[in-house]
Symmetry: C2
Subunit: 261 residues, 2 copies
């Protein structure tokens, strides 16, 4: 089983859940498998902390963190995993099945990272904007004829799998799973990547690189790119330094209307 | 993933479920993982087939089998697995954790058997009498501080595990899991064991072996014993023949009041 010190670094994040009973059911499953950190983003019902379905887990609901945005909820996480069925859109990041997720999570925890499992609302799942904060997507291997799971049941299945199988492997036996960041360095938390994205975007604007109409699309692509690069904390610090310096330089130079380009 | 032909030989059996929403949730999880055979024993609410929680699985509820007793529900099954937390009583049969169940189920299916997963009522779980029909018990590895799972979530977790991992192993690689019946013979279905138990009990009574006051206890122990022996269909047929012959002989001999014994 997953050691306590590792469970403490797995967050369950519910984005815009509509039914408080489902929040309670998620909390109950968390308590069943020994997880404590619940995060609720923009819940629909204000009284969700009183959900009666949180059998044996009322404290977990009371100590849950409520945030306005997913960016805020996962700011400290180094591996953000989106859940759901990938059917209506072409995924913009790697997709793994749940049995293949466990070794990736084990490795992220082993190097001191923090993992978020992100669930979308009951009706629509995660939006494209939500997904842009995810490093990868996980699919529960359901029957194609009936893929849509109940929220509480999906949380239970994922946590069961991680509790039983995201166990730290003995160093000698550890197979190198297919992740992008070398296991010796620590990954940049989501909040740092957002900060970096902001500075890069400002640089793009000051440089006159990004036409105004393209800004939302560029913003989205940049967020995905920064996660795909799997930057370490160290990488992120250096790139951030570089772009800040560039910005500072650019702001000192008056913009010339250069017709030749 | 588990092939369709194997999924068709796994029954989900809910004993005395109180809340129709939980029956519906179980049906939904079954549809999610491609299972079809739901059995409901002595349900509390008469209108359970209309449960709205069976999202995407209304036909599954309509085609579910309702029985009055667990004996009836599992009569055709060769491996009956009781679920729940073993906390208040010393188990009378082998206990495995869910990750260890998959190879046992895979083997039973590979030799043509039929498996039942049996869930007790939400409040009390399986009774001692229910458990006497089980060949083994499975425990979902939950946190000891909060072991009690929601029924629909427990069904989802078990079916996920079996769908992903009770996969038939290639013959050459198949490790011999610790079961009692050799893999070449087929196990006796539960209903045949009940028939045998009845004949043996009648023989006990006719032989004057079993004091009346002990009959319920002997009945329980006999049922457990027959399952622990893991009799093959062939064994069962022979023992049944033997006891029928004994009964016939005994009934022809007038009972002598023998004071010496």
């Amino acid at each position: 089983m997953l050691p306590e010190s590792h469970r403490e670094r797995i967050d369950v994040v519910l984005v815009s859940p509509r039914n408080p009973l489902n929040i309670g059911a998620a909390a109950r499953a968390m308590a069943n498998f020994g997880f404590q950190r619940l995060s609720v983003v923009a819940p629909f019902a204000p009284m969700w902390r009183q959900a009666r379905s949180a059998v044996g887990a009322p404290e977990l609901l009371l100590s849950a963190v409520e945030s306005a945005t997913l960016a805020e909820a996962v700011a400290a996480c180094t591996l953000v995993v989106g859940t759901g069925t990938i059917r209506y859109r072409k995924p913009e990041q790697p997709v793994v099945t749940l049995p293949d997720l466990a070794p990736l999570v084990a490795r992220e925890l082993a190097r001191g990272g923090r993992v978020a499992l992100v669930y979308g609302s009951e009706k629509h799942g995660l939006t494209r904007d939500n997904l842009s904060y995810c490093h990868l997507l996980v699919e529960i291997p359901t029957d194609p004829r009936q893929p849509s799971m109940n929220l509480g049941q999906a949380v239970a299945v994922c946590l069961y799998e991680l509790a039983v199988r995201a166990v730290p492997a003995p160093e000698s036996l550890q197979e190198e799973p297919a992740t992008l960041i070398p296991s010796t360095t620590s990954a940049a938390p989501s909040g740092r990547l957002e900060l970096l994205a902001g500075v890069i975007e400002e640089a793009m604007q000051v440089a006159g690189y990004s036409p105004r109409g393209m800004q939302p699309a560029n913003h989205h692509d940049l967020r995905l790119l920064l996660r795909r690069l799997a930057l370490s904390a160290h990488d992120t610090r250096r790139i951030l330094g570089l772009f800040r310096r560039i910005l500072w330089r650019m702001k000192r130079i008056p913009v010339r209307k250069d017709k030749s380009n």
